[in-house]
């Protein structure tokens, strides 16, 4: 994070943090990034970071004193020996074509991936208990995560924190595409913050506004990081991303303010926070020709985010002058320009089901590389439930109508009722191309107790994940320092020339052959009757031969014959 020379005074910050971290075992930072989007919508991203210089995974070290770090999570981490935990709840789909890349992507529904410590012997057992505990903490249906929707990706999900564990036996990944996210998930999430929703940026999080939006995503990321590489520290990042719609929230007027978005203004920073800032992305607006920002700020910041150098107006909430005379900070953003066309993000992916009828189908995943001259590889990960029986021999990968052979394929076939399909591929995307991955499947006929209560709604298939190192337009910063804004420092950067992007496709809704549950009684009765009566007797009739049977003689005749036989005279007929 570099500051232009006239405003260098801000750079005293890192030393400040350094001091605070030595005196207290932990620190807390909060920030809000507002990015006016091309389409006239507005993107607001909250990030809260709690750092804690302790290691509760160490043998024999029992930590019971919690200050900033939420105790509920800390206990879970130590009990289940979690090395890294990432959980996100998302309502809506991130529209890459209109909004560009988000700071931290997440798929619709719930996503959970956890790296366990390599001392854990029963990973599946820990995983099961952990999901149940998290389900309680976040009021979500994470308890529906079981072995039928859990996979162990071999390459797509590497740990983001300290240590380079590569043994994917300790990794568990699951998504619940059907999960609905609402206020009951937001409240426990807010409770994890040191200030709750009482002070600081979190006062803006009024649920009736946050859920009156086009996109809502909240996440928790916990990982060990290297605190100036002398000691290990735990980092808890809570992020909340929300996109407000121009037409439904903004009434079609391109005027945004904190009050209009959140029906609140800011009055103070969280007293526990070491830094509390609001950033507004003004990269496309250097001269103020696109939109007008008030109050204006003398502070400008630059950061390299997602392969691009962006300029921000910075509002520091820890300084009294930010709030002005009225003791309240209400950012106002007034558009002047026209909303533009669709974007062409460098990497983009979409997915759909082709075909009709209830027997077979084909999953198409289309990945776009919009870079004009650079080819780059992407990792595609697909986790498909067992009831779609993939025909892996029909897998085709084509780019520019030519066969594109993946250089790495990891495929784990499904086991009916036990394990989903996992397909991971490393595909080289030619420059300026569209790559289509297709695979055919057959829809399984479920047992009648396996149908959901609403079987005619269809069954969900989670998003596929495209992870890639995309060539960067500008040099990325590889050294991980304290003074970077939080949104630009989440994913560690290994090399300068490229940056890491993860793109999620839309989940699929697939109809399976469904019996008519509305009249099971009739169906059962009719079938049984037809089978029993009809089939049985017809089979009888067709396989037997019939002969006219002589009626047995009456009793008197038989007696007479008995006597006649004894007498030796011919019998009566």
């Amino acid at each position: 994070f570099r500051f232009p020379s006239p405003i260098g005074h801000i750079s005293t910050c890192p030393s400040l943090i350094g001091q605070c971290c030595k005196t207290h075992p932990g620190s807390f930072q909060e920030e809000l990034v507002i990015r006016p989007l091309h389409s006239g919508d507005i993107y607001a991203s909250f990030q809260f970071r709690t750092l804690w210089d302790t290691d509760f995974l160490q043998e024999g070290q029992k930590v019971s004193h919690y200050r900033l770090f939420p105790k509920s999570l800390g206990q879970v981490l130590s009990k289940f020996s979690v090395r890294e935990l990432h959980i996100s709840f998302t309502q809506g789909f991130w529209r890459t074509m209109q909004w560009g890349q988000p700071f931290i992507p997440s798929p619709p529904g719930a996503e959970l991936w956890v790296w366990f410590h390599d001392t854990v012997s029963d990973v599946d057992g820990n995983w099961k208990e952990l999901t149940n505990v998290l389900s309680g903490i976040f009021c979500a249906s994470l308890n529906f995560i079981d072995l039928t929707n859990t996979v162990q990706p071999s390459a797509s999900f590497k740990p983001l924190g300290l240590g380079n564990a590569t043994d994917h036996r300790f990794l568990r990944y699951a998504t619940l595409p059907r999960e609905i996210v609402c206020t009951e998930n937001l409240t426990p999430w807010k409770k994890l913050l040191p200030c709750g929703s009482k002070a600081g940026l979190a006062v803006l999080m009024k649920s009736e506004k946050l859920f009156h939006s086009s996109f809502h995503s909240q996440a928790v990321h916990i990982r060990p990081i290297c605190q100036q590489c002398s000691s290990k520290a735990w980092e808890l990042r809570q992020t909340l991303n929300v996109v407000f719609d121009l037409h439904t929230s903004g009434q079609g007027k391109k005027e945004w303010s904190l009050f209009k978005m959140f029906s609140r203004t800011l009055t103070e920073a969280c007293p526990l926070a070491s830094s509390s800032k609001v950033y507004v992305d003004i990269t496309d607006n250097p001269e103020g020709e696109l939109f007008e920002l008030s109050p204006a700020t003398p502070l400008l910041g630059q950061a390299v985010v997602l392969g691009d150098r962006r300029t921000y107006s910075v509002y520091d909430l820890s300084r009294a002058e930010t709030f002005g005379q009225l003791r309240s900070f209400n950012l106002l953003l007034r558009w002047k320009g026209d909303s533009g066309d669709m974007l062409r993000p460098l990497l983009h992916a979409e997915r759909y089901v082709a075909g009709f009828g209830l027997q077979t189908g084909e999953i198409h995943t289309v990945i776009y590389n919009n870079h004009p001259y650079r080819a780059f590889p992407v990792l595609l990960m697909d986790s498909v439930p067992w009831y779609l029986q993939l025909y892996i021999h029909t897998l085709t990968v084509t780019s520019k109508s030519r066969d594109n052979k993946p250089s790495y394929i990891h495929y784990q076939p499904a086991k009916d009722r036990h394990r989903p399909h996992l397909l991971e591929m490393l595909i080289q995307l030619p420059p300026h191309s569209m790559t289509e991955v297709t695979v055919q499947f057959e829809r399984a006929l479920l047992k009648w107790t396996e149908y959901t209560p609403d079987p005619n709604h269809g069954f969900y298939v989670g998003s596929s994940v495209v992870s890639a190192l995309v060539p960067s337009m500008v040099a990325m910063r590889t050294n991980f320092t304290q003074d970077q804004p939080l949104f630009s420092s989440f994913v560690p950067v290994k090399e300068e020339s490229s940056y890491f992007v993860r793109v999620y496709t839309e989940p699929l809704l697939v109809n399976l052959p469904t019996p008519d549950f509305s009249m099971p009684y009739n169906v059962i009765c009719l079938t049984c009757t037809v089978v029993a009566v009809g089939y049985g007797s017809f089979y009888n009739l067709l396989t037997r031969t019939f002969q006219v049977d002589e009626p047995s003689p009456p009793l008197s005749k038989r007696l007479a014959n008995l006597i006649r036989r004894m007498r030796g005279v011919p019998l009566l007929t």
């Binding site: 009828g357 007797s537 009739l541």
Partner: protein, 611 residues
């Protein structure tokens, strides 16, 4: 079953069935017809009711108010359409974009197998424009479709404009749970077909179409809007789709409920509902409405843009605005509100429409006949074929049985049976294949040698092959075995009867109307056929004449009676449309008639010339 396993009683039963065969058959036939006609009688039908909970009990308030704006938009659209000389693609794209939709286009082209003279098209090239309203906080898994065709001339301008006005209004609402796709398709059904094939990435009818970029998951329901005037007097609901498929009855119920709520006159088959069911006129009216539905369903074509959606398991219906000379008028705002209400209720759906009936007939919008009530009418006709077959079986078996205790030579007449039966079967089916393949493939040759257009060439070739089929096969068994025996034609008739029973049974399961109409004409003649029957009667009840009668009856029912020559011209165009529907949309009626029903009828025809 004990009845059948006891040989004596079995003998008595078969005796009874053979002795009383003709009376029973006649009674069955009459009962079938009476049953069918009784279906339109109101006390025998059920009142429609909303089965789907998600649509029934929820309240929806209609607030759409920009009907006037829609009408001025219609004028603008008309001007741009004239200027572009077709679909004003750029204007539409801009109009949709400015309303906040994600807009995509799809271009397609299709060369028809032969020129369509009704619509005057041969090489079709067009563009579909569609805009997707992304529902807030929805993961792009479900969608609804509203389509309006961009038709040539002055028609349907109001439909496109209303579509745009609705898009603008819908865009500002927060309550959408499903994405809504607004589709303006060019070249009516061809455009819809191209779009559906593009959306589902299938290619069943050889369209050349560009791939689609924007999708919105699985489509749950679709509404097609056709509107050509600023005010309308009534709205007509069209349900009949490709191959006689019908959307779920709840969709019709939904339309009816909103018409009632908003006070819009609604019709089905263009006929208003009457309340006087106990009078003769009232009954006739209901019977006419139902007969129209049966005829439309039987012809297996899509009667609106909605019909092609049904193949993809998307419940769809067309709403058609009708402006007649009635006093009662409805403005565009009310139609907009009606659509808003319907779309909002569909948006509330948690599952696909599945609660109500998929197989039904409608004598009026508020009354329906379910499959359980109409199937017996067909069953009564089909059982005649089985009874006749049983009768023949018994007769064929009887002399053989008698021969068991006598001399074994009596069995000899039945031994060449297989070949005598097989030859007519094969020849009939080859004629059927010729009827299916040749008309389209021979058109160029026909055009070269005769002074006719391509369309006429195709239709006349079809009729020629049909007629040639009558002359072809009827002497084969004499070549094989010299003289035709009584045994021979009976075996052939038995085979043909069973074949026809299976054919009609399968057809009726998929498309009741088609099965029933075929049964009404084919059953009496096939049941009573002997070599002594007049050929004229046989020809008059052949499949082609059935189509001809249907044309006349249909014209009579829609109150546009035609003269014989007009009827003949209509008949010719029906044949060409049938062949086109098969090639363009995959309608199965033409192959069914050509490859199965006609050969089966030829087998009976063969019997006439047995001796």
């Amino acid at each position: 079953m004990g009845l059948l396993s006891d040989p004596n009683r079995r003998k008595a039963l078969t005796g009874l069935l053979t002795r009383l065969n003709t009376p029973i058959c006649i009674v069955c036939y009459l009962a079938g017809i009476v049953w069918f006609m009784g279906l339109a009688f109101e006390p025998f039908t059920l009142r429609t009711y909303m089965s789907e909970n998600a649509m029934g009990s929820t309240m929806v308030e209609e607030r759409f108010s920009s009907g006037e704006r829609a009408l001025s938009l219609a004028k603008e659209f008309d001007a741009h359409k004239r200027k572009a000389g077709g679909m004003p693609v750029e204007w539409l794209v801009k109009a949709m974009q400015s309303r906040g939709l994600e807009v995509f286009t799809q271009s397609f082209s299709r060369k028809l197998p032969f020129p369509d003279e009704n619509k005057e098209r041969y090489m079709v090239r067009g563009t579909n424009v569609y805009g997707i309203l992304r529902a807030p906080r929805a993961p792009r898994t479900e969608a609804l479709v509203i389509t309006a065709p961009c038709s040539p001339g002055n028609t349907n301008n109001q439909a496109v404009a209303l579509l745009l006005a609705l898009a603008q209004y819908f865009r500002n609402q927060i309550y959408w749970a499903k994405d809504i796709i607004f589709l303006v398709n060019e070249h009516d059904l061809i455009g819809t077909q191209a779009w559906l094939e593009g959306y589902h990435h299938t290619n069943i009818t050889e369209y050349i179409s560009g791939s689609l970029r924007g999708r919105a998951g699985s489509i749950q329901a679709a509404l097609s809007l056709e509107l050509s005037s600023d005010v309308i007097t009534s709205l007509d609901l069209v349900l009949e789709g490709l191959n006689g498929q019908l959307p779920n009855l709840d969709l019709a119920n939904l339309f009816y409920a909103f018409c009632q709520k908003l006070g819009v006159l609604c019709t089905i088959q263009g006929k208003l509902q009457r309340n006087d069911w106990d009078t003769a006129e009232g009954y006739t009216h209901a019977a006419q409405t139902m007969m129209l539905m049966v005829l439309k369903q039987a012809c297996g074509r899509s009667w609106g843009d909605h019909g092609l959606f049904l193949r993809y398991h998307i419940e769809a219906a067309s709403v058609r605005g009708i402006n007649s000379f009635r006093h009662y008028k409805t403005d565009a705002t009310t139609i907009g509100r009606l659509l808003e209400g319907m779309v909002r209720k569909l948006n509330n759906l948690l599952e696909r429409l599945h609660q109500s009936y998929f197989f039904y007939l409608l004598p009026s919008l508020s009354r329906f006949v379910s499959i359980g009530y109409y199937m017996p009418a067909f069953g009564l006709l089909a059982v005649i074929l089985l009874l006749r077959a049983l009768d023949l079986w018994v007769h064929l078996g009887a002399p053989a049985l008698a021969a068991v205790d006598g001399v074994t030579e009596a069995e000899q007449p039945s031994s060449p049976g297989v070949l005598t039966v097989l030859t007519p079967v094969v020849i009939s089916h080859l004629t059927g294949v010729a009827l299916y393949l040749l008309p389209v493939h021979l058109q160029e040759m026909a055009v070269e040698h005769f002074p006719v257009s391509e369309t006429e060439a195709v239709v006349l070739t079809a009729i020629a092959i049909y007629t040639a089929g009558l002359a072809l096969p009827h002497n084969t068994q004499r070549l094989l075995s010299g003289e035709g025996t009584e045994q021979g034609w009976k075996v052939l008739k038995l085979t043909a009867l069973l074949y026809l029973a299976v054919l009609l049974g399968c057809t009726a399961l998929i498309n009741f109307s088609l099965g029933f109409i075929l049964a009404v004409t084919l059953v009496p003649i096939t049941a009573s056929i002997t070599p002594a029957l007049y050929a004229v009667v046989m020809v008059l009840l052949s499949p082609a004449f059935t189509i001809l009668y249907c044309v006349f009856i249909y014209q009579e029912l829609i109150e546009a009676p035609v003269s014989v020559s007009e009827g003949w011209m209509l008949f010719l165009s029906v044949i060409s449309q049938g062949i086109l529907d098969h090639a363009l949309y995959g309608s199965l009626v033409y192959p069914l008639l050509a490859l199965f029903i006609y050969p089966c009828w030829l087998m009976f025809w063969n019997i006439l010339f047995w001796n």
